[in-house]
């Protein structure tokens, strides 16, 4: 509830302003509100999703012209026209945004920039419709919205709704998924997040708010011409988000207010305003990457207990991972995978039994992690197939694995540093969410039950690995060993049938390794098969039911730990050292 306090203060200020200020402040307030309608949506794209769309003014332009044309030429009611502007903005949002799926960051930024230029050019030249350089009047409203304060309250209403919706989205699995593809894209894929689907929805939404903002912008300006939609405006939107801080709603909201007000207070600075914004951008990136939100994040400044120990509770695994009789094995058949001329896996057959711990050892470069990457779908072998029972595991589709019950961790933990530990763990159960994007945005019952269920499950998973006291802490404040357990909790949160662990013991203390061992055993006992890629031979021999030894991409030996320990070639080639 404490999180709502700043919003309550802002709302109070919004409601008091009409009683204490003149019409000028109504216009400035309405401008801040209209820009916020756009920036709030863009915030999901930039601040949460990390997609650097610097030319978003293009959608403001499109929405603005759509609404203005519909009102001026077809006599549509302004509110319907705003909606139509939103629809056009949404469609264009997808067109502008989707290259993000194929292009690198900088390339994407450039295409949005190009798009912004083109939209203005078209508005300029398509004279019969847009009025060309002379433009056309924006939609004008009837009483009570035709007065400055009436319009102010209307735009504030829009802004409040958009704030509420984006805040809901941000705290839903959609928001968590966005941050995941921003900061841990590979891990996001492993948890089944489809970047294409997610970004399509978010670009639709952000395009819609930008389009609606465009319509309102037309009314605010009373008249629109192409020269109102400058690149400077686009940069202002973008910088407002970054000043505010990525992954925050309140921060960009304040950033937006700041950038709208700044030139009004510092009239002599008008000439230098763009320079000032640019300097701010650079300074924020270099000195304060968290933006305003980080300054306001008091909770994460409280020091953490310094001598923390991780005490997993294996006894609670069974309650979390409750499978029933799923009993499919993972089977690899004659898999061959070469990078260039090097055959990383060279005709491997392996069966990983359900509900058992399967160790995979071998010297560096023997193909252990590569095997794991084939199973989890990141690599596409040239030959051979992978199955889960009788079902084929499609090659090269990591985001399909989660739905098939396969979860994994990474050699270097891939967690979202800026999200809380709890949020990180909830990512693991993303595909179990039922609510659609709009249900989440409007906090409909399905969304609320999702959140309740997933939060409870994530807390259970954290309890299993013994980190529940750190649930609200930003993940980047944790120690390395804790991050390893966070990853395991994230994987368990999806209740997998198989858990693939990539060197989970690396960097752990002896005590922690022992606890990890008993946790893994409990996971297997609860019915989840475990594939353990590890260098610590002791751990492998302690807890595995089956061990496969790889060398040069081929199976050197396979059997129980006891068999392997006495295998002559293994002893001489590997264990002997």
């Amino acid at each position: 509830m404490r999180g709502l306090l700043p919003y309550a203060v802002i709302l109070a200020a919004v409601l008091v302003l009409p009683f204490v200020a003149n019409d000028y402040w109504a216009v400035i307030g309405a401008r801040a509100a209209v820009y916020w309608v756009l920036v709030a949506g863009l915030n999901l794209v930039v601040g949460y999703g990390g997609q650097l769309a610097i030319g978003w003014v293009a959608l403001l332009t499109l929405g603005s012209y759509t609404a203005a044309i519909l009102v001026a030429r077809f006599d549509l009611s302004p509110f319907l026209a705003y909606g139509a502007g939103g629809v056009v903005g949404a469609l264009a949002g997808v067109v502008v945004g989707l290259p993000a799926l194929r292009l690198r960051t900088f390339y994407f930024a450039m295409t949005t920039l190009g798009f912004a230029t083109i939209v203005t050019q078209v508005a300029l030249s398509w004279q019969s419709v847009t009025g060309g350089g002379i433009g056309l009047p924006g939609p004008s409203l009837e009483a009570p919205f035709d007065s400055p304060w009436g319009f102010y309250l209307l735009t504030m209403g829009f802004a409040a709704v958009v704030t509420w919706m984006t805040a809901n989205v941000a705290s839903s699995r959609w928001g968590r998924s966005l941050v995941a593809i921003r900061d841990a894209e590979v891990a996001a894929e492993a948890t089944g997040i489809s970047k294409a689907r997610l970004l399509t929805i978010v670009f639709l939404f952000a395009g819609f708010t930008a389009g609606v903002a465009g319509g309102l912008f037309g009314t605010l300006q009373s008249y629109i011409t192409p020269d109102a939609f400058t690149f400077d405006l686009s940069v202002t939107f973008f910088i407002a988000i970054l000043i505010g801080g990525r992954g925050s709603i309140l921060g960009p909201l304040l950033g937006n207010v700041l950038l709208t007000l700044l030139p009004e207070f510092a009239a002599p600075l008008v000439a230098w305003s763009t320079f000032l914004y640019a300097t701010l951008l650079l300074a924020i990136v270099l000195l304060m990457p968290g933006g305003i939100a980080a300054v306001l994040d008091f909770r994460n400044r409280k020091p953490l207990e310094s001598h923390r120990s991780i005490v997993p509770r294996p006894d609670r695994v069974a309650a979390l991972v409750d499978h029933g009789p799923v009993r499919d094995d993972i089977i690899l058949r004659n898999v061959v995978l070469a990078f260039g001329g090097v055959r990383a896996i060279d005709g491997l057959d392996i069966t990983i039994k359900a509900g058992a711990v399967h160790g995979l050892i071998g010297p560096n470069g023997s193909g252990k992690t590569t095997t794991l990457n084939v199973i989890s779908g990141y690599y596409e072998p040239q030959e051979g197939e992978a199955f889960l029972g009788t079902r084929v595991l499609p090659h090269g589709k990591p985001q399909a694995r989660s739905a098939m019950g396969i979860a994994r961790t990474f050699q270097t933990p891939r967690v979202i540093g800026e999200a809380s530990v709890l949020q990180n763990v909830m990512i693991g159960a993303t595909i179990d969410g039922r609510a659609s994007f709009m249900e989440s945005a409007l906090t409909l019952p399905r969304h609320r039950s999702d959140e309740k269920r997933l939060t409870a499950r994530a807390m259970d998973a954290l309890a299993v690995v013994g980190l529940e006291s750190l649930a609200p802490v930003r993940a980047d404040r944790l120690q390395h060993s804790e991050l390893r357990f966070v990853e395991i909790a994230r994987a368990l949160c999806g209740r997998p049938a198989f858990l693939l662990l990539d060197e989970p013991a690396a960097g752990l203390s002896t005590d922690e390794i022992t606890r990890l061992g008993s946790l893994i055993k409990a996971v297997a006992a609860a019915g989840t098969g475990v594939l353990l890629v590890e260098h610590h031979a002791d751990l492998i021999f302690d807890i595995c039911d089956q061990v496969t030894v790889l060398n040069l991409g081929k199976e050197l030996a396979a059997g129980t730990p006891a068999e392997i320990r006495s295998h002559k070639e293994v002893v001489s080639a590997y264990l002997g050292a």
């Binding site: 990390g50 650097l52 610097i54 290259p99 194929r102 292009l103 690198r104 960051t105 900088f106 390339y107 930024a109 450039m110 295409t111 920039l113 190009g114 798009f115 230029t117 083109i118 050019q121 078209v122 300029l124 030249s125 900061d183 894209e185 590979v186 690149f231 940069v235 970054l242 000439a271 230098w272 763009t274 320079f275 914004y277 640019a278 300097t279 701010l280 951008l281 650079l282 990136v285 270099l286 990457p289 990078f339 990457n373 990141y378 690599y379 990474f410």
Partner: protein, 286 residues
């Protein structure tokens, strides 16, 4: 008519290509694509005008001073906008830091130099505005001289090979004891000078104008996208092709349709071949 279009097209194409090379040099040294690349081109023209027309220096010292200025801005880019964000390369903060710095350069120039295009001095005085005027062939000569020079530098000199080593594998190069930071600064100085040369050689064509920075930033990036990141020959082919295509489209279809056409080609090529037409496939992620 064809001659006029070809001359102008190849000339602006050569300027675009050189900006593309600027992008490439910066990228090779740091894995960073910088929004300041186009601004270097703008500064080449502005500093050229400042040194020669305003300070009254002879052409050669004026040229050297302008290039030195651009190289210095290149180094500053490295120090304030690139180096601090290198450790978090995967967060793409460089997009923001270089955008910020580029906007600072641009607005500063607009306010302190001029918001109107200023004349660039006539350098040699060959040609009377016809297709063989120096303003058309100077950029082309500069472009090929630069490519040749870079080839020599990379293949024949120790420093050049060290550049290549850094571009190939940063960590390995550092492990070999190469002074990675100094080489990176040198690369940015070189990139600044190449970008400046683009603006200087194209000065008579594009004039000294603050808005050229943003324009070159975009059109200089297109050859990089077409030719593949890091591929200088690809950038030259892409740049010249873009220049001719753009001028032909300008002439045949008029200003607005032409820019739409250029953009459409850019997007389609990118989506069909995100690595560019001559680029290498992406690196492994896991």
């Amino acid at each position: 008519m064809l001659a006029a279009i070809l001359a102008a097209g190849l000339a602006v194409g050569a300027v675009y290509a050189l900006i593309g090379v600027t992008y490439n040099i910066m990228f090779s040294a740091s894995r960073v694509m910088s929004f300041t690349s186009g601004q270097m081109g703008m500064l080449g023209g502005v500093l050229g005008t400042l040194c020669i027309s305003r300070l009254g220096l002879p052409i050669i010292p004026g040229f050297v001073l302008a290039m030195a200025g651009c190289a210095a801005i290149g180094v500053v880019t490295e120090v304030i906008a690139v180096r601090p964000v290198l450790k978090a390369l995967d967060q793409h903060l460089y997009v923001l830091s270089t955008l910020g710095f580029a906007l600072m350069i641009q607005t500063f120039t607009a306010i302190e130099f001029s918001t109107e295009p200023q004349p660039f001095p006539r350098l040699i005085g060959i040609g009377e505005g016809g297709p063989w005027d120096e303003k058309f062939w100077l950029p082309v000569v500069a472009c090929f001289a630069t490519i040749g020079g870079l080839e020599l530098l990379y293949r024949r000199t120790l420093v050049g090979r060290a550049f290549l080593a850094i571009a190939e594998d940063n960590f390995a190069a550092r492990a070999l004891g190469l002074p990675e930071r100094n080489l990176r600064m040198a690369s940015f100085a070189l990139a600044g000078a190449v970008g400046g040369l683009a603006g200087f050689a194209g000065g008579e064509l594009l004039m000294a104008f603050f808005a050229n920075g943003a324009m070159l930033n975009f059109f200089g990036f297109v050859p990089v996208a077409l030719g593949g990141l890091g591929n200088n020959k690809g950038a030259v082919i892409g740049g010249l092709a873009l220049g001719v295509f753009q001028q032909a489209a300008n002439f045949l279809m008029g200003g607005v349709v032409a820019s739409v056409a250029v953009f459409a080609v850019f997007i389609v090529v990118l989506l069909v071949a995100p690595q560019g037409l001559f680029g290498a496939p992406a690196a492994r992620r896991v």
